[in-house]
Symmetry: C2
Subunit: 548 residues, 2 copies
């Protein structure tokens, strides 16, 4: 058991503590006419930094939902037949959503528009989801993370699901997928959407399967389209659709070590096998596009054949499907529907690059959205770590969004602590990727935190971190006294042995030496000056006397 403690029960919904308790010395502020939310962290040296904020409006009644900030933007476009961000971008129009994202990312709105027009980025933003704070997903923007929530036949309640949403975005989830499969699936989704400032994704085939009492063979395209419309009208922003899994791929999985591990993939494989017909999501793909274009629901083209273990990585089934996803991307684009592509899964380190390379080539640089990948199979209970390793690497190669994995992966349904552990591990992976991509300003927070660390400004170090609560708690385990938070040492080395302190001495000594040399230099120059007869001179490269 982690921490050597035993959990006796799953947490019940209890309401979240105020944001300020999770993030001391932070406040939410709004930027510009579009009221883009940012979180401003105030430091004890009088400076501050603004960081990307996903926490959404606070203190709203969950039965009312959060404010409908997009309502006006959407209303004025009501006559447009294809109200997708891709369609507008192709018309040269910079929408409010694009401008919103540009402010969030600190980039030119024209970059946002052109990347969307080219299919290299998407803003999943259903016209029936006015509560949304738009988010852009693409390789030239900040790396995003997704958290999955959802009940299951075994447990979980609707109130719990909304709280899981709020909990996920508190720690930084950029989008949330509702993977519910229970009987209250429609109502759960409604509550989640009305409370969601982030894009919500679903896997509609799950609900379809509920409608046919779990009999995959009874699924039809009409039922599917009907379900898509039902969910699109609620405001779902992106649909995972396993249209690339073809009948011919199914036998390729029979010799795999872990067969088909995607739920959606296995459902469609089951259907194909039962009917010995081509996947109706593939044959009916254009009708699906037409429907999704009406609402601006984005495709997340599902990788139903993703590898479920190291042994199955990068095999013929996986890459066969990926190639089809590339064909489907072009069809979706024809209908002005935004597309991203889902990726693996379980992949050893040396096989990750091939995934990114082939996805870029075959899928025409449509945004990649990967699950991890997990770089080994041997650590159930720690798969947030095994997968954060793969996620950081594929993120640094340009994956647009990383789907989180929690410590409960392969073992059970994540609880609140698992969700947080998964989100934080993925914030680390995404940020590491942004540093590697050289995203403008990404390193600012690292720099400020390291400066605070070096200067023993403990509270600033905590408050600049991804999870101040945990940083403070771990610090207090060793040095609980309040005075320790201003101590010029930490418990690792003790008061007489602190490398940071010695290093500061070195710096002071170096500065003193530089000052002494500068003074000596000035005296010499002064002597030279007098020797040369007192004429004024300047060194070619500027004044060459260092001024301390």
């Amino acid at each position: 058991m982690r921490n050597g403690k035993t959990k006796t029960t799953l947490e019940q919904p209890q309401g979240l503590r105020p944001l300020a308790e999770s993030f001391p010395n932070s406040r939410k502020i709004e930027v510009g006419d579009l009221k883009v939310p940012v979180r401003e962290i105030s430091l004890t040296d009088g400076t501050s930094i603004q960081v990307y904020d996903t926490t959404g409006p606070q203190g709203c009644d969950v039965r009312t939902g959060v404010p409908k900030r997009r309502a006006e933007w959407i209303a004025k476009r009501k006559d447009d037949k294809t109200p997708t961000q891709l369609w507008y971008a192709r018309q040269g129009v910079i929408t409010e959503e694009m401008r919103f994202c540009a402010i969030r990312e600190g980039v030119d709105p024209e970059l946002v528009r052109s990347e969307i027009a080219r299919g290299r980025a998407i803003i999943p933003a259903n016209i029936h989801h006015p509560e949304l704070e738009p988010v852009i997903l693409g390789r030239n923007f900040l790396t995003k993370i997704n958290a999955n929530i959802g009940n299951s036949a075994l447990r979980s309640s609707i109130e719990e699901e909304v709280e899981k949403l709020q909990w996920s975005i508190r720690w930084g989830a950029d989008t949330v997928m509702d993977l519910s499969t229970g009987k209250d699936i429609h109502q759960t989704r409604e509550w989640i959407l009305r409370n969601a400032p982030v894009p919500i994704g679903t896997v509609p085939i799950y609900q379809c399967l509920e409608k046919v009492d779990g009999k995959a063979a009874d699924l039809t395209l009409d039922l599917f389209l009907e379900t898509l419309e039902e969910q699109a009208l609620q405001g779902v922003d992106y649909f995972t659709i396993h249209a690339g899994l073809l009948l011919e791929h199914v036998p390729m999985t029979a010799k795999r070590r872990t067969g088909i591990v995607s739920r959606g993939g296995s459902i469609m494989a089951g259907w194909c096998l039962a009917h010995h017909q081509e996947n109706f999501l593939y044959t009916g793909f254009e009708r699906i596009c037409q429907l999704m274009a009406k609402y601006d629901v984005a495709f997340s083209l599902g990788d139903g054949l993703r590898p479920g273990c190291i042994a199955d990585a990068n095999d013929a089934a996986q890459f066969g499907e990926l190639k089809v996803l590339g064909e489907l991307t072009e069809i979706a684009w024809k209908y002005d529907v935004q597309v991203m592509i889902e990726g693996p899964g379980h992949v050893p380190l040396h096989k990750i690059k091939e995934n990114m390379d082939l996805q870029l080539e075959w899928c025409h640089e449509a945004p990649f959205y990967t699950l991890g990948p997990l770089v080994t199979d041997i650590a159930p209970g720690y798969d947030h770590i095994t997968s954060a390793i793969g996620a950081a690497i594929i993120g640094s190669m340009g994956t647009a969004m990383l789907c989180y994995v929690t410590p409960k992966e392969h073992l059970g349904l994540p609880d609140r602590q698992d969700v947080k552990d998964g989100v934080i591990a993925y914030k680390i992976a995404a940020h590491a990727a942004d540093l590697a991509k050289g995203h403008p300003g990404a390193q600012d927070r690292d720099d400020l935190l390291s400066k605070a660390r070096f200067e023993f400004r403990w509270e600033d170090q905590f408050n600049l971190s991804l999870d101040p609560e945990t940083a403070i708690a771990l610090h207090d385990e060793s040095m609980p006294a309040p005075a320790a938070k201003t101590a010029h040492f930490c418990s690792m080395c003790g008061p007489h042995f602190c490398s940071m302190r010695i290093s500061q001495d070195v710096r002071d000594a170096a500065a003193a030496k530089e000052l002494a040399e500068a003074q000596a230099g000035m005296q010499q120059k002064s002597a030279e000056f007098l020797q040369k007869g007192g004429e004024v001179y300047l060194a070619a490269a500027g004044v060459d006397v260092p001024v301390p």
Copy 2:
């Protein structure tokens, strides 16, 4: 607080539970005449797998220590003047230590000898440490991990330190560094060594500083040599020595964001600055080599100028020192002393490769031993994760040993849970690296675990994992009933929605189809056979009728 629980006190030493409770269905066995320890995990399908084992002899009285398995091997070499593994390897001798490592790694003993002779691998094995189960560190062997333990001026007791050693190796630490700085430093080390089946490393300058009451300026080469001898006689297997930090490097750190973060590095920089003289560890390096050769203590050439934050990565100070470490490597080799090279620190993803490339080039492929690296600064409390990401990558590039980082890094002194969290994160990183390096047999455990997972053999999945306790505990949070451990589904999807089950159906269907086709094929062949007049034929590529 992790898990939402509050810790009230640091754990007191309490004795570890029996190994079998941490690793159900495992037993320790000994292989061959050298009695190489392995752990055999028995599976419910009647098969088993042997895994590398670092846990050491169990049930010994800590006041007596563990058995002296090397005593005989060492005794018969007592007349050799330079009893180092490097010297023997260069003479063409395969020592018991080399043979022991070859069995552990499943490789040819000659490979072990030749890699050591070439300086590309080391077996840290002081002749005064007969309790050691030898371990090989090198890019062509399994990636190893090191755990740091040690008291500090603020807390910790001797009993606690021995238990930390045992706790670290239970979860897989391959070597342990004793970084104690308190007053009982000699006695603590003695207890650790007498109970250590793994190589023990130290940073002798810490004890030297104790001897001069913390005044770095009072350090001398003679005091240092005296301390080395004291520790070498106790049996320390490798010394971190910061001999590559030169006087000329010190000013390069003054403009750094976090200066010098290595304790040893800052001590030596302080000395250089105080005396305005060259580092005495550099000027006295040959005398140090002569001493270490007598006992076969290996060098871990310290990176006193490793970057302490992302901003300082790969700077002139860091690489200036690395280049000197390469020169020192050649000097140590001249004296037949084994060498490894310490590396960073904090490095963003895109700057990791340069570290490995330059280390290989400048240090002549001597084993690299890196601390992480941490790929971002913004996650105090989670630096086991930020650093496991960097460690997996640099490990896959050939780093021989990864020095763990715990969640307490930058915050405080790790307790038992932190040590375990750090070790497991690093076992993940090391194993991911071994998969990527294609180490023979590394994937076997992944394959068996994934097969168990696919076949719903829950207990086998748990027992094959790095930490069965945690896997079981997380599983039981969702499905506590004993029956659930044999359930053909898990709580993520529930009983009617399991992709593993559907996938098994697909596999069964495919097998049935293949059988049907095979039968149809045979009937056709049979008909052809009769048509052609009954002559016997074989297809070119073998019998072409698939036999199910």
